[in-house]
Every structure is written in structure tokens, then in C-alpha cells.
């Protein structure tokens, strides 16, 4: 995974040096791909999108633990497709003309909603489940790609100021979790030195509770250390500003509630639905961001949005845009008809979307490959030359 192309070229530009890309860029790219996948039911296009995501992941992921999770998302996607098809076969109800095979029907009693298991299995049914499941699975795989490529710890550094406290708590949790293992070993060693046995209930009271008590003591020590370094302190915020942000958040939430109600109530006027929801959401988020802006915190070596970041994020957005455009131009090509079943086709626009989606495999700088660079991911230009 060390970028061999970079190592070979004598005139490396700074943009091509191995470094960790801003995690937000990977998330923008992945969400763009997921949006593109959500617009289509075309199995060919979906398979191409999965392939694009997989190629970028294999070329540009590091060797951190989260980078190895992509396989799990592929598996999860397969499970989603399988369940969708299975549900259609078991509970489908047998719509469609091209019957593949007839399974014996099992009518269930009335308390089970009067449903009927199995029965005739039609091609249309299975294909519908397959396309539907593929779309969901592709969106999952795109998110899995973001999980594998983006460093969650660096993403936590970039949370908005209003979520700073929660982000800190999560960082503490991520740092303390490995120490728990060490704590367990220490308690067990102490028990062995005292000659204690290992019966089950004793194990609980002898190991689990001391470890918990140790962790709680550790949290107090940590709080003292944080206090002495100025963590958890808030600046004095004027009452007027607090009232304004509070009013924005509350008004926004009222709007969100009204919007969701309007979205689900058939008799309400149209403006009470999605427009209201979006307006409320924007207002509330504006209030939250405003509250965060009043607290100034310096960041150690913040991740910056450089050209590769912008290009990678742009690729995702462009892929989503091209797919949306393609849906508007050729709706049939993107939602292949299942009755009668026809072979799905691709249009030039969709191929262009996939091509754009896969470009970050070469555009993004290769990840630093040395173990030291993974242990200290804040080193911007590490890696072998």
C-alpha cells in the first residue's frame, strides 16, 4: 500500500507525498457515491459503483484497524441482498407472470395478519428484491469505504465547536479502552500473587469489580489532569447571545416537528412537509453552530483542506450529480423494468459518473505506510522515500 509511483518518480510534488487525507474529504466522496447509488436501481451501475469504491479502498487505505473493516461491509451488503430476496420468496405473495417455480403454500392463521408463506416464485419478484437489495447494499458499501479510508480520530478533531465536549469524551473513551486490558492483567497478577483461585463468582468480584473501580479512579485522576490543563472550561457567554442561540434551536426544532408531521399527514398543505422540515433543520443547526462559534479553541496541527481534498470531495459530488442528471435524461436506463425482465443497460452519462467516482484512487495522495506513521497519524509527510 506504499505508493510505488511516488517512490519511483524523482520529482515528487508536495501534493503527491504520502500523507493522510482529511477524513471529511473521504466522507464527502463516499456520501456522493452513496447518493449516486440511491438514485438508481440498475444492477450494472450499482456493481460498477461497488467496484469503484473497492478499488479506491484497496489503493488508498492505510493499515489501521478500521481500514480492515471494508470486508465486513461487503459481507453485510451480501446479507442485505440475500435477506431482501429471501423475504420476497418467503412472503412475496406471488405477483408476476414469469413463474420460476411453485413452492407449496403455507397459509398462516389470522393472528399472523393472514399472510401466506411461499407459493409461486416469479422472476419479477426476485429481480425486484435483488435490485432493491443491491441499491441498499451499494450504499452500505460506500459508507464502509468511508469507514476504511477516513481516520475517525482525526474526524473527531474536526467536529464543530458545539460538540467539542462530546468529542472529547469519545476521544477519552478511545484512549482508555486499550488501558482496560492492561488493568485486567494487573488485577489478575495481583490476585495470583495473593494465591487466589479462579472460581467463577470470585472471578467476577475479584477481577471485574476492581477493574471497574480502577477505571473510575482513573477518570478522577484524568479529570484532575484535564482541569490543570484547562480542559472543560467555558468562556462567559453574554445572556443575550445564549438566548438567541436557544431561540434559534428551539424554533428550528418546532419547525422540524411540524415538518415531519406535515410529511406524514396527507391532509396538510404541501409547504408544511419537506420545506418546513428543511427550514427548521437549517435554523436549528445555525443556532448550534452559532453557539459553537462563541467558544474559541486552538487546535494542534489542524487538518487543512488542500487541493487533493477538494478534488476527492468534488469527485464524489460530481458522481452524484452526473447520476442524478442521467436519471432525469433516461429514467428507463436507470430503473430497468422487471416486468417483462430485460437486460439492464448503461448510458454514457452513467459510465462517466463511475469514471469520476474511481478517480480518487489515483488523485488522492497514498497513505503513509510505515507503522510509526500510523501510530502518530498527525505526522503529515512521513513514509519511505
Amino acid at each position: 500500500m506504499s505508493g510505488p509511483t511516488v517512490a519511483r518518480s524523482p520529482a515528487v510534488t508536495r501534493a503527491r507525498l504520502p500523507r493522510v487525507l482529511h477524513p471529511g474529504a473521504w466522507w464527502w466522496w463516499a456520501l456522493g457515491l452513496a447518493t449516486a447509488a440511491s438514485r438508481t436501481g440498475n444492477p450494472l451501475l450499482l456493481a460498477l459503483l461497488v467496484a469503484a469504491a473497492a478499488l479506491v479502498v484497496t489503493r488508498r487505505r492505510g493499515d489501521a484497524p478500521w481500514a480492515l473493516a471494508f470486508r465486513m461491509y461487503l459481507l453485510l451488503g451480501a446479507v442485505v441482498v440475500a435477506t431482501r430476496v429471501l423475504f420476497r420468496v418467503v412472503l412475496g405473495g406471488g405477483q408476476g407472470e414469469h413463474v420460476l417455480l411453485r413452492l407449496p403454500e403455507i397459509p398462516l392463521p389470522a393472528w399472523a395478519a393472514g399472510i401466506r408463506l411461499f407459493g409461486p416464485v416469479a422472476v419479477e419478484q426476485v429481480l425486484g428484491g435483488l435490485y432493491d437489495g443491491l441499491r441498499l447494499a451499494t450504499m452500505l458499501v460506500c459508507l464502509g469505504a468511508a469507514n476504511a479510508l477516513a481516520n475517525p480520530k482525526r474526524l473527531l478533531k474536526a467536529v464543530p465547536g458545539a460538540l467539542y465536549a462530546v468529542g472529547t469524551a469519545v476521544v477519552v473513551a478511545l484512549s482508555v479502552a486499550p488501558q482496560l486490558v492492561e488493568s485486567v492483567q494487573r488485577v489478575r497478577r495481583a490476585r495470583r500473587l495473593r494465591g487466589a483461585g479462579g472460581r467463577r463468582m470470585r472471578l467476577l468480584h475479584g477481577v471485574a469489580l476492581p477493574v471497574l473501580a480502577d477505571a473510575l479512579d482513573r477518570s478522577l485522576a484524568l479529570a484532575a489532569a484535564m482541569d490543570s490543563r484547562g480542559y472543560g472550561r467555558t468562556a462567559a457567554v453574554p445572556a443575550g447571545a445564549r438566548a438567541l442561540t436557544g431561540a434559534l434551536v428551539l424554533a428550528g426544532l418546532v419547525g422540524v416537528c411540524a415538518g415531519t408531521y406535515g410529511l406524514l399527514d396527507a391532509t396538510s398543505p404541501g409547504y408544511l412537509g419537506l420545506p418546513m422540515l428543511v427550514t427548521g433543520l437549517v435554523t436549528a443547526v445555525a443556532g448550534m453552530l452559532l453557539a459553537g462559534r462563541r467558544v474559541h479553541r486552538s487546535r494542534y496541527r489542524p487538518d487543512r483542506w488542500r487541493l487533493p481534498e477538494l478534488l476527492v470531495a468534488g469527485c464524489g459530488v460530481l458522481a452524484a450529480g452526473l447520476t442524478t442528471l442521467a436519471v432525469d435524461v433516461h429514467p428507463v436506463l436507470l430503473h430497468p423494468p422487471v416486468s417483462p425482465p430485460t437486460w439492464p443497460e448503461l448510458s454514457p452519462l452513467t459510465v462517466a459518473a463511475v469514471a469520476v467516482a474511481v478517480v480518487p484512487a489515483w488523485l488522492a495522495p497514498p497513505p503513509p505506510s510505515a507503522p510509526a506513521a500510523v501510530a502518530h497519524p498527525s505526522v503529515p509527510v512521513g513514509g519511505p522515500r
Binding site: G93, A148, A169, A173, V256, A266
Partner: protein
């Protein structure tokens, strides 16, 4: 049980010692102001819809044309709502002791979670969440639910669209545990907590099923939600779906694990948590006082009013990885 009784006595002593004219039966590590409570209620209302929308979808021409998108709207809506509530809960400035306690307990929860992942239905997250919510109050319980599941998702790399829904459901569990009647101590407390654990575990499974229902079944099987159908019809379909897929396996396993864990280790864990809460002295106001002239320590440093002798003895480790 004698240990739990001891905790009760100590807890009462705390309440008498630090309550400056305030009745306080338990600590509240994260203060929930009236405005925060209002935000929490409004956001929870909207969030409940993001779980339960399949039960209420109208049959409307343009709406049915958009059925593919309705889930996506709610998938985008919920993370924003969770972020809003979390920001609001911490907006007043969260105590660094509460912050550290939150992080450490979330780490314990995140470490406990994989223990049960391999075995069907064994869920080891909720009992500590319930107990901590009970001891540290509803606001802390809410935050702990979110941070625990978020940290565990990051540790085992399971970030996906389901995460905000899991976070919110777990947060509601922690919040509810903090709202249980505070007078109970001893056996009655353990019994109530175990009962709540059972209820919470089944409720969590039900909420997760409700969320997964439209995604798991798709749009047109006999167990899918029916746009425009009466509520009872959709509820019936959902009941069958959840009974078939998970109630008798995963959910029951989760509920039994949680209740048994609360009964077996609950009293001892409550003692440990209450001891930590007492040492942290969350509600004690911090004041700065001049050091006595010629004293051994000329640096001004904060002292805590109330019972907090253990706080100073906590020490200052060089680096604890924050």
C-alpha cells in the same frame, strides 16, 4: 445485599452534607436546564417519527412516488437531531470530572460490547448504562448512551446509517434509568433496575426492528408496511415481523442478560459508582481561595466545598491520553 444497604446509607450522608438547602437524593453529573429539557423533548418527538414513520405513511400520489426517498430523508434527519441534543446538553459547559467519567464509562461499555457479540443475544452493554444512568442522573445517562455506542462503533469500525438510531435508543435507556424514582435503595432498587433493564432491552430491540423494518423487507411483501393503511393494520404487520425475526431470539437473550447482570453484579457496581460520584463531588461549587501565607504550597489552587477529600488525592498523572 448488605453492601447495597451500605451504599444507601452513604448516599444519604452525601445528600445531607452537600445539599446547601437543596433536597438531593442523588448526584446529577450533567445538569439539565429547563431549556435543555424542552430541546430534548422536541427532538425526541421528531426522532420518534424517524423510527415510526412506516406506521403513519399516507397514501398520496407524490408521496408514494417518493417512497424510495422517505427513508433517506429520515436517515439524514436523525444524526442532525442527535447532534443538536448532544450539543444542547453540553452547552452549559460540562464539568471536566463528568467529561472524564463519561469517557471512561463509555470505554468500559465499548470494551464490554464485543464480549457478547459472538453469542446469540448476549448483550453486555445495557446493564452498566442503566446503573450509571441511575447513579449519575438522566443527563449523564443520555450522554453515556450516545458516547458508548459511538465509541464502540469507532473501535470495532461499525459506523453506518444504523449508528444514530442505536445511539438515540441507548440514550433514551440511560435517560430513563436516571428518571427512576430516587428514594429506592437495597433490594427494591435492584428489583426495579432489573425490571427496567428487561423493559429497556425489549424496547431497544423493538425500536431497532421498527427502524430496520422498511429496509429489511422492502416495499411489497406481505410483511412490509402498507402506505395509507390504518395504524392497527401496520402495527399488526410489524408485530408479526418483529416476532418472527427477533423477539424470541435476540431480544429475549438481550433482556435476560441485562436483567441477570443487574441482579448479580448490580449492587456491587452501584457501590463503586456511588463511591466515584461522591469522590467527584459533582455539585460542589468550586471556589478559589488564597493560600495561607508561608504555607507549603504558595500556588493558588481550587478547593472544593463539601465532601471531597478524595478529589485532591487523585493526583495529577503526567499524561492520561486525553
Amino acid at each position: 445485599m448488605s453492601r447495597a444497604g451500605g451504599a444507601g446509607v452513604r448516599g444519604d450522608r452525601v445528600s445531607r452534607a452537600d445539599g446547601a438547602g437543596v433536597r438531593r437524593d442523588r448526584v446529577s453529573a450533567v445538569r439539565v436546564a429547563p431549556r435543555t429539557a424542552l430541546v430534548l423533548i422536541l427532538a425526541s418527538l421528531a426522532a420518534a417519527v424517524t423510527f415510526a414513520w412506516p406506521l403513519f405513511t399516507p397514501v398520496r400520489p407524490e408521496s408514494t412516488a417518493r417512497t424510495g426517498e422517505a427513508p433517506l430523508i429520515f436517515l439524514v434527519l436523525l444524526p442532525v437531531l442527535v447532534a443538536l441534543v448532544l450539543a444542547e446538553l453540553t452547552s452549559g459547559g460540562i464539568d471536566s470530572k463528568a467529561l472524564a467519567m463519561l469517557g471512561v464509562l463509555a470505554a468500559v461499555n465499548a470494551a464490554l460490547r464485543p464480549l457478547g457479540a459472538g453469542t446469540a443475544g448476549i448483550e453486555t452493554v445495557f446493564f452498566l448504562l442503566v446503573l450509571a444512568g441511575r447513579v449519575f442522573g438522566p443527563g449523564f445517562g443520555f450522554l453515556l448512551g450516545s458516547t458508548s455506542l459511538f465509541a464502540s462503533a469507532l473501535l470495532t469500525a461499525g459506523v453506518g446509517p444504523w449508528l444514530p438510531f442505536q445511539m438515540l435508543a441507548a440514550s433514551w435507556i440511560g435517560l430513563g434509568a436516571g428518571l427512576l424514582p430516587s428514594r429506592l435503595r437495597g433490594r427494591a432498587e435492584t428489583a426495579v433496575l432489573a425490571g427496567y433493564g428487561l423493559f429497556a432491552a425489549y424496547g431497544y430491540g423493538l425500536l431497532m426492528n421498527l427502524w430496520f423494518w422498511p429496509f429489511g423487507t422492502g416495499a411489497d411483501t406481505q410483511l412490509s408496511y402498507l402506505p395509507g393503511a390504518p395504524l392497527t393494520e401496520n402495527l399488526h404487520r410489524f408485530a408479526v415481523f418483529t416476532a418472527v425475526t427477533s423477539t424470541f431470539g435476540w431480544d429475549t437473550g438481550r433482556a435476560v442478560t441485562t436483567a441477570v447482570a443487574i441482579v448479580v453484579v448490580g449492587p456491587a457496581v452501584l457501590v463503586a459508582l456511588r463511591r466515584a460520584a461522591r469522590r467527584a463531588a459533582f455539585d460542589a461549587p468550586v471556589t478559589f481561595a488564597a493560600a495561607p501565607a508561608g504555607g507549603p504550597d504558595p500556588v493558588r489552587r481550587p478547593t472544593v466545598d463539601g465532601p471531597g477529600p478524595g478529589r485532591r488525592s487523585a493526583g495529577f498523572p503526567p499524561s492520561t491520553g486525553a
